[in-house]
Symmetry: C2
Subunit: 136 residues, 2 copies
DNA sequence: TCAGGTACTTACCAAAAGGTGCATACTTGT
DNA sequence: ACAAGTATGCACCTTTTGGTAAGTACCTGA
């Protein structure tokens, strides 16, 4: 099993191209950290422009405050585009910028990994949850 | 630019195979959320088994408390393996399990994305930081 | 007229995440 | 004898994150 690792494709080194980031991964993490951001990005990547309300209903359990906040940050970071149709009642929709879309594509392997290993993950998580709630 | 998106490879839908997770991405996020986890995984993926102290020095700015804590969770989640050589003074090293390594591989695109777009990210981040520190 | 929907904003609070520093038990080097 | 290093544990505290509930300005349908 230790030989496995040696045989697997080596993980490319992460170049610390710019100061302030230890590596590319670090840079990416700064932009997608936040409970809902990856989910928002991924959802937007699947359907096209989406109205606020739809998004709200799609990303289950998110509150208005959080959704708005994360959307603003994503917008400030140039990952999503907000379109205000300036109608009354309000109509606004969100879509991915090309940059955002490229990030969403980079999320695909994570999504795949999660799907493939969901059984493992859920087992571990059930243990954690039970351990947190009950006694042992 | 809106046609761009249509032309790009469609992001595969995320199957909610098991209850409790909205999709695979969600599952993955549960396991790697934590300021240092992706960095730890990635570092371990590059060099083999690593002693605690080395790891500590490698992942810059991490405190003992945090590093230990995250390592424990990663271990509990079956992503890293802890080997205590039961020596005195203490000698312990950490390495990736096969599952952990597969996850590290899934992180590669994120790392690449960050490297490629580091200029963008750092610009945005500089703005955020300055805006937080200064007044406007 | 009144409930309900739109896309938010704000104030207030709880929980989680994270940091600092001290302690341990034993070693090696000075 | 004493400082320093090893891999942690623990108590205390601050910062960040996230949630709840209310309000806004306007519209539509009953």
């Amino acid at each position: 099993m230790s030989d496995d690792l040696a045989a697997l494709p080596p993980v490319p080194a992460c170049t610390p191209t710019l100061p302030g980031f230890t590596c590319g991964l670090d840079a990416t993490l700064r932009v997608i950290s936040g409970k809902w951001k990856p989910l928002i990005l991924y959802f937007l990547a699947q359907g096209g422009p989406t109205r606020y309300g739809e998004l709200r209903r799609a990303v289950r359990d998110v509150s208005d405050k959080m959704l708005i906040q994360q959307l603003k940050e994503l917008e400030a970071d140039g990952l999503v585009t907000r379109t205000d149709h300036r109608e009354i009642p309000p109509r606004v929709d969100y879509s991915l910028s090309p940059l955002g879309h490229s990030l969403a594509l980079a999320l695909v392997p994570l999504c795949t990994w999660g799907t493939e290993n969901m059984a493992e993950v859920s087992r571990v998580y059930a243990r954690r949850a039970g351990w947190a709630a009950g006694k042992e």
